[in-house]
């Protein structure tokens, strides 16, 4: 198995898809000749020529043309460089792509894949930092996934492009150049959906997705040191969402924490909590949501760091949920401030 970084895994998936599906097209701003601002589409233009091209800075034209090409048998894979930019052309995703199959009673379809990436990174401003998955998850007719590992970056994209409906694959630029891992390429197309138990545990279920998964796993490791066993459930597919997997885990642990980078109010964490509590699964403590407080994202790292959830804050909040005091005060206190901030975020 080749050792690939997250970005290289996306690139490998694109190469595979261009080979196995002649209907695929890859286009967007700077994705052709330059190979993408993050280098993720490198080598495609040279290899597949006209099927890969650069576009004007026209998100409505990029997305709209992808809807039209998909209606006519192509499988366009278009890139929206930052999820924030989708807001200049959301109509094409929500009012157009999502309606094609339903309104035509299944006689037409729009199997396009929208690759984008989102989230905060050091120094990024409020217009380049948002996590917008909740917006897309409120739209029936779309599929949405958020890979956090090289293997998922590969598998989810392959599944998305083979899917006969519009799919958003939301990547994260802070992961593109992360460590290399063995990635099984060329395997069978995996089914959509499903959750991953990234760490088994009995005291609390922590549901998360995207780049936060790394922070949650770090927090879970630290908690284990104090004898708190957190079960970390990653849900790379958010639509379809594996509600049963979450319920199964919560029935075992009796506690639920949902962690996402998006701001708390109206985030998809609310949906997860509502499904779990709505199911009547017995809980030993009120469920908690950990996310960015409801503010805009400031560019200064010193400010942004105090807002975006990190392992220390997650550890502190989950520890409080489970109700066991920290081993040593230091970490606890330091995180306590942030924890308080996070908890009051939506009050």
């Amino acid at each position: 198995m080749p050792e690939l970084s997250y970005g290289e895994a996306v690139n490998a998936a694109l190469h595979r898809l261009m080979e196995e599906l002649p209907q695929t097209l890859v286009y967007g701003e700077d994705v052709g000749v330059p190979g993408g601002v993050f280098g993720v589409t490198r080598g495609l233009r040279g290899r597949y020529g006209e099927r890969v091209f650069d576009t004007p800075i026209s998100e409505s034209a990029i997305l709209g043309s992808a809807v039209g090409a998909a209606m006519f048998g192509r499988r366009p894979i278009v890139e929206i460089m930052w999820a924030d930019f989708s807001l200049v052309a959301l109509d094409q995703i929500v009012n157009q792509a999502a309606n094609v199959r339903y309104v035509s009673g299944g006689r037409l379809s729009a199997p396009l894949t929208i690759r984008t990436q989102q989230g905060n990174a050091p120094g990024a401003c409020a217009q380049h930092s948002q996590c917008l998955e909740a917006l897309f998850l409120h739209v029936p007719g779309l599929r949405v996934c958020m890979p956090s590992t090289p293997q998922d970056a590969y598998d989810l994209l392959v599944t998305a492009v083979h899917c006969d409906d519009p799919v958003l694959v939301i990547e994260n630029r802070t992961l593109y150049f992360g460590g290399k891992e063995p990635v099984q390429t060329g395997g069978p197309v995996r089914p959509m959906g499903g959750a991953r138990t990234r760490r088994p545990g009995s005291d609390v279920t922590v549901v998360t997705w995207g780049a936060m998964t790394g922070q949650v796993l770090a927090a879970a490791g630290a908690l284990a040191g104090d004898g708190i066993e957190a079960e970390v459930l990653e849900t790379p597919w958010l639509n379809p969402f594996d509600t049963e997997a979450v319920l199964g885990s919560v029935r075992r642990t009796g506690r639920l924490a949902v962690v996402h980078e998006a701001n708390v109010t109206g985030g998809f964490g609310a949906e997860v909590v509502a499904r779990v509590t709505g199911s009547g699964a017995p809980l030993l403590a009120p469920p908690i949501r950990i996310g960015t407080p409801d503010v805009r994202l400031p560019a200064a790292p010193s400010l942004a760091r105090s807002l975006v959830p990190d392992a220390a804050r997650i550890e502190q909040e989950v520890r409080a949920l489970v109700g066991k005091p920290p081993a040593q005060a230091g970490a606890g206190q330091q995180a306590a401030g942030q924890g308080a901030a996070g908890r009051e975020a939506w009050r």
């Binding site: 209907q23 097209l25 006209e50 099927r51 091209f53 576009t55 004007p56 026209s58 998100e59 409505s60 034209a61 997305l63 709209g64 043309s65 992808a66 809807v67 039209g68 090409a69 998909a70 209606m71 006519f72 048998g73 192509r74 366009p76 052309a89 109509d91 094409q92 009012n95 157009q96 309606n99 199959r101 339903y102 309104v103 035509s104 009673g105 299944g106 006689r107 037409l108 379809s109 029936p140 007719g141 599929r143 899917c163 006969d164 409906d165």
Partner: protein, 315 residues
């Protein structure tokens, strides 16, 4: 020659009879919701669709009943759609402003102003890769020329020489507002130059003129010449939607419009050429009879079944 003009007359009468029937059904309450009629604008779809081939793609607006008919969609499933019947072209899911009939080369109405233009670019783009030599026609109004998506689509099509024909139906109003006050230069075809593509103003009340220009643009597009913008000048004989009080009209405006509307004009032309009135009037009677029969059949069909309301969201 007068054969073709009689054919145009029949095609236009089929649209007008359809629209007038829709107006009546809406008045009776058999059709509900907002409905946009194209009475007075029939020459554009009739002339344009005559220049298209089955493989071509056509994207219209909410004012698209006439385009669907001109493309060959039978009146009955269209009435059924407007009436929320299971046998409607969309099984009742689209309604007046959003129906599609891809099997007839009609790729749909769209009720978001300007949204169809980028989608048409995609249909053209697909044609470049599937070897179909498809040309895509994007229809929108004068007001849509000020929508960002239309600008992006025109540049996208021009930059990549995509085979798209942009047909702007300039009926001088955007809903209740005269386009004249919403642009500095009312000659919208002039905007084509900004994208480096040809643009022409066309007599949109003359099916023959529309046919000529669309055929020419389609030919250029198929040969790799890229897109063309056609500004087809026309006028609504009716309100923007059914129920529009039309308070924005100047005194005598409707009388003036009636004098130059396409059906009356063609009728006069045919009479002047010695075509007997009886033959001309027979065309109208035939269209109305067909239309009434289609409406009657649609009314007799069962409503869309609520049990199916959640099907086909996903594959």
């Amino acid at each position: 020659m007068s054969e073709r003009r009689l054919a145009d007359l029949l095609a236009m009468w089929r649209i007008r009879a359809f629209e007038e029937k829709v107006r009546d059904l809406r008045a009776e309450g058999a059709i509900v919701g907002s409905v946009h009629l194209c009475v007075g604008q029939e020459a554009i779809p009739v002339g344009a669709c005559d220049a298209l081939e089955p493989r071509d793609a056509l994207f219209a607006t909410y004012r698209g009943h006439g385009w669907a008919l001109a493309r060959g969609v039978p009146a009955e499933p269209l009435f059924a759609e407007l009436l929320g019947r299971a046998c409607g072209v969309n099984g009742g899911r689209g309604g007046s402003a959003y129906f599609t009939a891809a099997e007839y080369g009609f790729h749909g109405e769209n009720s978001i102003v300007g949204a169809g233009a980028p989608i048409a670019c995609g249909a053209a783009l697909a044609g470049r890769h599937d070897g179909s030599d498809r040309v895509a026609v994007s229809v929108f109004g004068d007001g849509a020329m000020n929508q960002g998506a239309v600008h992006e689509a025109m540049n996208f099509a021009a930059a990549f020489s995509l085979p798209v024909v942009f047909v702007c139906e300039n009926n001088r109003y955007s809903e209740l507002t005269p386009i004249a006050g919403m642009v500095r230069d009312p000659r919208l075809s002039g905007r084509a130059a900004a994208y480096g593509m040809p643009g022409h103003r066309v007599d949109g009340n003359d099916a023959e003129a529309v046919r000529f220009h669309v055929r020419d643009a389609v030919e250029a597009a198929r040969e790799g010449g890229g897109p063309t913008l056609l500004e087809c000048m026309t006028e609504r004989l009716v309100g923007h939607y059914i129920g529009d009080a039309e308070t924005y009209r100047e005194p005598g405006e409707l009388d003036r419009i009636r004098r130059r509307e396409p059906i009356a004009r063609l009728r006069e032309g045919l009479l002047a050429d010695g075509v007997p009135a009886a033959g001309i009037d027979a065309v109208e009677r035939r269209a109305r009879a067909e239309t009434d029969a289609a409406a009657t059949a649609a009314l007799a069909a069962p409503l869309a079944n609520p049990a199916t309301a959640r099907e086909h969201l996903y594959a």
